[in-house]
């Protein structure tokens, strides 16, 4: 119920390198530039990001934000679509044209499909519709910020501890023993493993695994997650998939 009100958004497939070692999702403080004209909203966002140890700089208009982004050094930009001076989309397009590909999370009050598609085409990595819950924002910022250094070389296998997922053969093994997964269970596990060590929210799973862009009334995510856990974790020693209370799920091998 905590996440019930979060308007869900389109999300491009996440391509990340497999990490052999996992860190807790909240323990990687990074530099973040927030460009948001509404003072109250930005104060709340800064508060939430600071709580995770992130170093946040705030700009209140597009032109100022562009200058700050040009100076570089940020792991991610959080950009409001509607800004005085220079609108968020034009600002990000400008940065792309200058070769600055810092990951961008767009914030917007507009929830039209076209705005979303436009935002993602214009250089945005993810898109969050206001109002949103803080765990949703933190999870998404974390996801795009850590993707920053990722290259396009698609891995063939994803590994987490003794769990191995073969993207070519579409097979999963745990401790050398094959695990039989249905197509959607495979996609769910693949998404969790690609985001190993990070928290993924229900909305992120619904969007990326099932392409659902609304908040369902039934416990779709919980049900499928429970089935996946039954196959992947049950009877295999250490648990890999963990519930993060009030936020979502994470897959990690300690």
């Amino acid at each position: 119920m905590l996440l019930a009100g979060i308007p869900v958004i389109l999300h491009p497939p996440v391509i990340a390198r497999t990490m052999t070692r996992c860190k807790p999702w909240f323990a990687v403080p990074v530099k973040i530039l927030l460009i948001e004209d509404d003072k109250e909203t930005s104060a709340h966002i800064v508060f939430a990001l600071n709580g995770e140890g992130h170093d946040v700089t705030v700009c209140h208009d597009g032109q100022e934000g562009l200058e700050a982004a040009r100076s570089g050094g940020q792991a991610a930009l959080i950009v409001d679509r509607m800004l005085p001076g220079l609108d968020g989309l034009s600002m990000v397009k400008q940065l792309w044209a200058e070769g600055n590909h810092t990951p961008v999370l767009f914030l917007t009050t507009m929830s039209g499909l076209n705005d979303r598609v436009e935002g993602l085409k214009g250089g945005g990595d993810d898109y969050l519709v206001k109002p949103f819950a803080f765990p949703e924002l933190l999870a998404r910022v974390d996801a795009i910020a850590r993707r920053g250094g990722a290259q396009d070389n698609e891995p063939v296998r994803l590994r987490a501890g003794d769990l191995e997922l073969d993207l070519i053969r579409r097979t999963v093994h745990r401790g050398g023993k094959p695990i039989d997964l249905q197509a959607q269970e495979f996609r769910l596990l693949e998404y969790l493993m690609r985001n190993m060590g990070r928290v993924v929210t229900r909305a992120m799973l619904l969007e990326n695994v099932w392409d659902l862009h609304f908040d369902p009334r039934t416990n779709i995510v919980e049900t499928h997650m429970s089935r996946l856990r039954g196959k992947v974790d049950r009877g295999h020693g250490a648990e890999l998939i963990h519930t993060v209370r009030g936020a979502g799920y994470t897959l990690r091998a300690d």
Binding site: M1, Q182, D211, L212, T223
Partner: protein, 454 residues
């Protein structure tokens, strides 16, 4: 008013017709002038040739004298009043009523002075013998007079046609203006706020009537939408007050009752959950409004409805199982429709979730697809308790919740959203309730045009 005449379509049309008519009068006049001129000249030449033949005949039988005699006879003829004759030998006039002139043969025009007047003649000249020249021809004054007469008639016609066109145009624009002014006044009255008002229709079925009818239909649609809108905003205001008031009560109670940090934490959790519920309600209402706005139709693409339903079954099968229900699907043939995939997924999710949430454990939910008369009907049926027929209409109303489901989470917007998405896709929804067969929802889509034949 005079200036406005010039700007009306009626006046512009009459001016155009007047212009076209004037040009045709000019062309016709020129044509008549050329034709009559040619005919009159031909007549003069024919007469002249006949006379010359008579003179030549005289010369052949009786030489100079006989020729002179015939010229005299011709001069005396009553029909030849404006004819001129000349018989000359080497510049010396033998007979005739005109002075000697240069001997040119064939059809010629010549001029000479007679008692101070310049006379122009058209006629035929010929040699009867070497040195003996004869000319007969007619004064061109009459020909010129006839032409001037025709020209005058044409000018009168031209002027009259312009006058008639202007008068007609003024009349047409006046009556046109009178009616458009009435329409404009009615529109202004409507803008002042009287949405019940309609534009007068004369009942003649002409263009202006059709325009008035179209505007009236539009007004009808607008007032229906406005009524709907005010109904919805009333509903929203009313239905949002309840959760917001609950939220306020919770916070007040937390302030007075909480003793420990745990109490506060618990109260805050509950308040956040309530706030999320309110936001969720807003999001759902906004989504319906966006879909009803219709701007998503631009993103329509062909999609296979059978494949989409198969995915829905795959997605919800474990969920149904968890709820103690069974979700099945009948074998489906390929059916291609045009639509927005994300919205259709939401439509079927809502229907399937309704069947899961609002039925007791052990309910069988069945998805099927059939083709009926050029349409494809997707059916979500269950064998639960069903919904009484008299409630079917109300089910699609915004924020309507059945008595039995008030304890379940939800806003009462699911079926409104389904209806909005269906309408966007040109689909119709039919609820079938059989007491023993639970509730069946049929969504009938038009098939995509390019697959209708297959």
């Amino acid at each position: 008013m005079r200036i406005r005449f010039l700007r009306t379509e009626g006046f512009r049309l009459s001016a155009l017709y007047a212009g076209i008519f004037a040009i045709s009068v000019v062309i016709l006049g020129a044509f008549v002038l050329v034709i009559t001129n040619q005919a009159l000249r031909d007549q003069i030449v024919t007469f002249s040739k006949t006379d010359i033949a008579a003179i030549r005949n005289g010369f052949a039988t009786g030489g100079d004298r006989e020729a002179q005699e015939i010229v005299h006879q011709l001069l005396a003829g009553p029909a030849n009043a404006d004819f001129f004759y000349l018989l000359q030998r080497r510049g010396k006039v033998l007979a005739g009523n005109m002075p000697a002139m240069a001997a040119r043969t064939g059809t010629i025009e010549a001029s000479f002075s007679s008692t101070g007047n310049k006379i122009e003649v058209l006629g035929v000249g010929a040699f009867l013998a070497p040195g003996l020249y004869v000319f007969t021809g007619s004064d061109m004054t009459r020909l010129r007079a006839v032409q001037a007469h025709i020209l005058n008639i044409m000018l009168d016609l031209f002027g009259a046609s312009i006058l008639i066109a202007i008068a007609g145009g003024a009349l047409v624009s006046w009556s046109f203006l009178r009616r458009t002014d009435a329409m404009a006044r009615a529109c202004q009255d409507i803008m002042q706020g009287d949405l019940k008002l309609r534009i007068p229709v004369r009942g003649t079925g002409d263009e202006l009537d059709r325009l008035a009818e179209a505007i009236n239909e539009m007004l009808g649609r607008i007032s229906a939408l406005m009524e709907n809108l005010s109904q919805v905003s009333n509903d929203i205001a009313h239905d949002l007050r309840t959760p917001v008031t609950h939220l306020r009560h919770r916070l007040e109670r937390a302030r007075t009752e909480s003793r420990t940090p745990e109490d506060y934490a618990h109260a805050l959790e509950a308040a956040i959950a309530k706030a999320d519920e309110i936001l969720g309600l807003f999001t759902a209402l906004l989504r319906i409004a966006q879909i009803e706005g219709g701007d998503r139709r631009a993103a329509f693409a062909p999609l296979e409805l059978d494949a989409l339903l198969a995915q829905m079954r795959e997605l919800f099968e474990p969920v149904a199982e968890e709820a103690g229900d069974v979700l099945q699907s009948a074998p489906m043939d390929k059916a291609v429709i045009r639509g927005d995939r994300q919205l259709l997924v939401q439509l079927f999710s809502n229907l399937i979730e309704n069947a899961i949430v609002h039925t007791p454990r052990g309910t069988r939910i069945r998805l099927s697809l059939s083709r009926i008369a050029g349409r494809v009907v997707a059916r979500v049926g269950d064998n639960g308790p069903g919904v009484p027929r008299e409630e079917h209409e109300r089910l699609f109303r915004r924020l309507y919740r059945r008595e039995a489901s008030r304890s379940q989470p939800g806003y009462g917007l699911g079926l409104s959203l389904v209806a909005a998405i269906a309408e966007l896709h040109g689909a119709t929804i039919q609820l079938v309730d059989g007491r023993r067969h639970g509730l069946t929802v049929d969504v009938s889509f038009p098939l995509a045009a390019d697959t209708e034949k297959t």
